[in-house]
């Protein structure tokens, strides 16, 4: 039996009333028996201090519980969410390699993060990158870091942010699916996390980050949960990779339909649920802002399904399962920067637009330009993230989140609907930096990996399939009976 929110509140009030009565009676006792004197006053002050500590502890407890849960949800988005989503979209001979690319991030990025990644992203440093203060997680203990969150242990913050650092590079794998060497991918991702992710995360969310809206950055970009940091960087990098590596053998003439839309379906549903941790967890607390972000996230996803499906129906006379789930992901991407800044109605609109827009990017634009962004990492994440970041500048509301304040502490307008026409420009700066960093960083890294390890598998290995050629395995060992 769980305590309903209302009765918990009544219980809390009752206990507070009892405590207050107790304190009052202690005070009265001081009047009635004056010879006890200052001892009663000290005792009262001590009790109030203890009460304040308990209240703070209770708040921390609630926040930490939600943040740890959110961390688990975001990790689930990578494994198995993204692994399944991407895995189902490739041909059978590449299913394991695709899933392993995501899973490898869970392992490799985690280790890097512990050693130095967290420090570079969130440690004190310059406007563009953190420093080495938290090398080997030095100083990252159970005390909160007030700059980020006053109520949760810094380790919670660190582990939550790690899950973002994991899924971001995993998203890129969608662009070069079915043709990249495993070793090259590992090297690429390690370099990418240093050169692109850590700086971008620092600029938007880190102390003294130039784009940090919460901590007074010079170009405050409203990015609640990572529209620019996660989706634009990974999506644009994906496009660069797709162009650099070239098309898969046989693309676009050979038929390469998804080998299991069923797996993709399961993965997409996990992404939707996990995204509550991604967006609502970005409130870094369990209070009203988390609720707001949770609600916006859900409605953004729902409306985007309809947006994509409607566009698909108009074009193909049919709504497909793959289309519907892709629409949901597109909406979730677009609402990511907006989640903690917009109301439910704005979230519906953002989702609806994103669903239709990403459908167009994937079904029309990609075909017109002919690039082989195999799993639409750019079409959904790059384009959807860019769109979402810009729409955030339009629909952000200080009533939802009073992020901008003047010198006297008065709340300022957030987005265009409140009359702040300037914010769109800041959003564009953030988006431009994300695009620029992603393009330059990715090109440099691709070049390095190409000359050292070599990026693509041989033609023979590509035809054989990566599961066999890179990993010596088969995903489904069904043909031969045991």
């Amino acid at each position: 039996m769980s305590i309903h929110g209302g009765s918990a509140l009544r219980l809390g009030r009752f206990l507070s009333a009892c405590t207050l009565l107790f304190l009052l009676s202690s005070n009265l006792w001081g009047f009635v028996a004056p010879e006890l004197g200052s001892n009663a006053g000290d005792a009262q002050a001590q009790r109030i201090a203890a009460l304040e500590q308990q209240t703070a502890d209770a708040k921390s407890s609630a926040d930490n519980a939600w943040m740890l849960t959110s961390s688990a949800l975001v990790l689930m988005m990578t494994g198995p969410g993204l692994a399944l989503f991407y895995g189902g979209l490739v041909r059978k001979k590449n299913v394991l390699s695709t899933m392993l690319q995501s899973f490898a991030m869970m392992a490799v990025i985690s280790v890097l993060w512990a050693l130095c990644g967290y420090s570079l992203a969130f440690g004190p440093g310059s406007s563009f990158i953190g420093g080495l203060h938290h090398l080997f997680l030095h100083g990252v203990g159970l005390q909160p870091d007030a700059a980020y969150s006053a109520t949760i242990p810094q380790q919670t913050y660190m582990i939550y942010q790690l899950m973002f650092a994991i899924i971001t590079p995993a998203l890129i794998t969608g662009a070069f699916a079915e043709r990249m060497k495993f070793s090259a991918m590992l090297l690429f991702m390690i370099l990418w996390s240093f050169l692109v992710y850590d700086p971008m995360a620092h600029m938007v969310w880190g102390k003294s980050g130039v784009l940090n809206a919460a901590l007074g950055g010079h170009f405050p970009t409203l990015d609640f949960a990572g529209g620019t940091v996660v989706h634009v960087t990974s999506g644009v990098s994906a496009l660069v990779c797709a162009l650099y590596l070239g098309r898969r053998l046989g693309y676009p003439h050979e038929a390469m339909p998804p080998h299991s839309v069923v797996l993709s379906f399961v993965g997409a549903c996990m992404l939707w649920v996990g995204w509550f941790g991604f967006n609502a967890g970005s409130a870094l607390a369990s209070g009203g802002l988390a609720t707001s972000a949770f609600v916006a996230t859900h409605f953004g996803a729902a409306a985007a399904v309809i947006g994509w499906a409607a566009a698909e129906w108009l074009r193909n006379r049919k709504v497909s399962a793959l289309g519907a789930i892709s629409g949901a992901v597109a909406g979730l991407v677009a609402i990511t920067p907006a989640a903690g800044f917009v109301g439910p109605m704005s979230a519906l609109l953002i989702g609806l637009i994103a669903g239709a827009f990403c459908f167009w990017m994937v079904a029309a634009v990609k075909a017109r330009f002919g690039y082989d962004d195999s799993l639409d990492a750019f079409g959904v994440h790059g384009a959807g993230g860019t769109l979402g970041a810009i729409l955030t500048g339009i629909f952000a509301s200080s009533a939802i989140n009073p992020i901008f304040k003047d010198a006297n502490g008065n709340t300022l307008a957030s987005g265009m609907i409140e009359g702040n026409f300037h914010q769109i420009l800041n959003q564009l700066v953030g988006v431009a930096i994300a695009w620029g960093l992603a393009i330059v960083g990715t090109l440099v890294i691709l070049k390095i990996v190409d000359v050292t390890v070599g990026l693509r598998v041989s033609q023979e290995h590509e035809v054989m399939g990566l599961d066999l050629s890179q990993h010596g395995e088969e995903g489904y060992y069904w043909e031969v009976s045991v």
């Binding site: 676009p252 339909p257 998804p258 074009r315 793959l322 289309g323 994937v362 079904a363």
Partner: protein, 112 residues
């Protein structure tokens, strides 16, 4: 001995199998195959990309019967597999040189 290979619609497997059992055919091999004759395929769309699928799933039933049973078996297959539309399938007959029962090495029509 004659080998009968019948390519039929997948939805007709049950009725053909039952018809064959009724007339006493005891051995058969069933394969899932893809192919086409004059039947057109269909189009599938994934994320805006169209794929023409012209190899249609079919069922192939193979059996070897004694020569005097061939006509009876053929008629039974046709009757149970027919819908009258393009895509019903085909039956091919070929001569078999020898048959061997693995269990006891019986040969000829006794092995069927």
């Amino acid at each position: 001995m004659t080998k009968i290979e019948a390519i039929i619609q997948t939805s007709k497997l049950e009725s053909v199998k039952n018809a064959l059992h009724e007339i006493g055919v005891e051995g058969m091999t069933v394969l899932e195959v893809r192919g086409h004759g004059r039947q057109k395929g269909h189009t599938e769309v994934y994320r805006g990309r169209e794929y023409t699928v012209d190899l249609i799933p079919k069922i192939k039933i193979e059996m070897v019967v004694s020569d005097d049973a061939v006509e009876k078996v053929t008629r039974a297959i046709v009757a149970s597999a027919q819908t009258g539309k393009i895509g019903d399938g085909k039956i091919f007959l070929s001569r078999i040189d020898e048959a061997v029962r693995i269990r006891n090495e019986e040969r000829g029509e006794n092995a069927l």
